[in-house]
Amino acid sequence: MIGSLAALRKRGPFELTVALRYFRSTRQDALIRLLSRITAGGLALGVAALILALAALSGFQHRLLEEVRLRTPALQARLVGSADVEALRSLAAGVPGVASSQVVVYGAGWLHRHGEVLAVDLVGYEQRLPGWLPGAEGGAGDGADGGAKRGLWLAAERVQRWQLEPGAVVEVVTPRVTLTPLGPQPRSRRLPLAGSFDAGTADDRHAAQVALPLDLAQSLVGDADRWLDIELARGADDVRVARGLEAAARSRPELGGLELRSWRDVHRALLFVLRLEKSAVFVAVVLIVLVASFALVAALSLILASKQAEVGILGALGAAPKRLRRVFLLLGGMLAVSGTAGGGALGTVVAVILDRSRLLRLPGDVYIVDHVPFLVRGFDLAVVLASTVAVTLLAAFVGARRVGAISPIEAIRR
């Protein structure tokens, strides 16, 4: 009895007190207890599924983007024919977040080795193998000092497939023509292998790149596609650095403006698809939550049916219809919040455990990772929880509307 009195003292207003009693329903009414648990459990499972699905997607996308960023130039400024390279280089050096810069040229070509021809993208570098061609093995990265180090850098996979040793000669052919006594001829050079880089498995285009010193590249492809490759300092944000560069360029009108491209521009389509994919998964899994919300309406209706006489008594004692509606709206809210919070906690914990334990294995030679990565993002979690609570509160509102129609005297007569 003392416990009961103490509990009563702690309670808030009528609506909260009654809703809490119905929510707990730990006494006598096994049906309501079961209904509450099924409803909250269904919501929890829906929310947990939503969080897990988004976490797996985020995990994959995060790893994929990491991979892509590692092997894509962070920021480059186009160098048109008359561009003052030194002026641009010094401009870039003055922008916070810029570590270094070097000229690179791009062009298409083919590699020819023992009758096998392979289409490639040639990349000429000015000072050293760019950072976005990582995992250099073999010769040294410095192609400017001549000798045996001046040569081609190929993807490790290609080197392995062609069984090339450092110094092995490969012919490079480009569509840029040279006029000869025999007529226009494509340009070609026989160049030694300087080393290899790791192209990863995320994008086949990375494996098709062939790097070589700038002067060799220019002799093969010209310099129509010439860029100042800007290497960012560790932790620098490419968007912020790009803004800094643009601002600096505006103060130097004699440079003729700046055309920048970042890894985001290069992979614009990929980023769009990733966002679209996430939205699609979100919408698909939200349907689970919607189904659970229908269960909430059904549960509230059943609870209301079983409590009809009590609602009638409360009405006879002076509880206004709007206040009785509030009781059931609160009850629906409690079921929704408990289910959502439980599901949120369950989904997050399971995602963290699965990620750390690497329980779900994948063939590493097929995918970019050897396990299913899970990444729970705070924003995703907030969106899931907020949208679920909103949907379920709407469902609770629909379920609670019927309470106001109950006539006290009809309910008591039954």
Binding site: M1, R21, G318, A320, R323, I409
Partner: protein
């Protein structure tokens, strides 16, 4: 001049089921002075309970007007009627109508909880009333742990906890054995006497009716002439 607590004019009420219309009340006129103790008697189906429900703002008449404490019930919406029931009218039903999942004390406190009474005051009042009807030791008991007479005593306390000026009792002893019924009735009469509560009491029992200051007899939906 005597203050009128309950006034009814031309009250009519019929129930319809499919094509069958049953006229229960046919033009009831009634004045009950503040502090009166009125018994409403009559055979089954004469409309006693229906009249009580209309006067208690639990149902609306098909025709006619009701004033409670000078307020015309016809002008009030459902939420306002509920507020009026809570503050002005205490009900005792034939079947106690206690909330099964709430203790005796909580049941008695419920109207106060609805009415927004402060918790300490409400608890003091509820416990005092239960003490008054001899249930001071059963505050924490749930309805299924109480006898029929005890439940009806809890219901009586619940009806009086808001200290309403009007008490409506619909055969409060009709479901009890004679001894329990007598105890509940005695308590009801004593408690309304102490509080000066205007009381309308529906009963089949002529002995109970004779203990009331005024007796109204309903016959075929009308108040029979004395």
């Amino acid at each position: 001049m005597t203050e009128i607590a309950v006034r009814a004019r031309g009250l009519s009420k019929a129930y319809r089921e499919d094509a069958v219309v049953t006229e229960v009340l046919r033009g009831i006129d009634l004045d009950v002075a503040a502090g009166d103790l009125v018994a409403i008697v009559g055979p089954s189906g004469s409309g006693k309970s229906t009249l009580l429900h209309l006067l208690g703002a639990l149902d609306r008449p098909d025709a006619g007007e009701i004033e409670i404490g000078g307020r015309d019930l016809g002008t009030l919406d459902r939420n306002q009627l509920a507020d009026l029931r809570n503050a002005t009218i205490g009900f005792v039903f034939q079947f106690h109508q206690l909330l099964p999942d709430w203790s005796a004390l909580e049941n008695v406190m419920m109207p106060g909880l609805i009415g927004g009474l402060g918790q300490p005051e409400l608890e003091r009042r509820a416990a005092g009333l239960l003490e008054e009807v001899g249930l001071g030791a059963r505050l924490g008991a749930f309805p299924n742990q109480l006898s029929g007479g005890e439940r009806q005593r809890v219901a009586l306390c619940r009806a009086l906890v808001m200290e309403p000026p009007i008490l409506l009792a619909d055969e409060p002893t009709g479901n009890l054995d004679p001894a329990s019924g007598e105890r509940v009735l005695g308590l009801l009469l004593a408690m309304r006497e102490r509080r000066g509560t205007t009381t309308l009491l529906v009963t089949h029992n002529p002995e109970i009716a004779n203990r009331c200051a005024r007796v109204l007899t309903l016959m075929d939906g009308r108040i029979a002439p004395r």
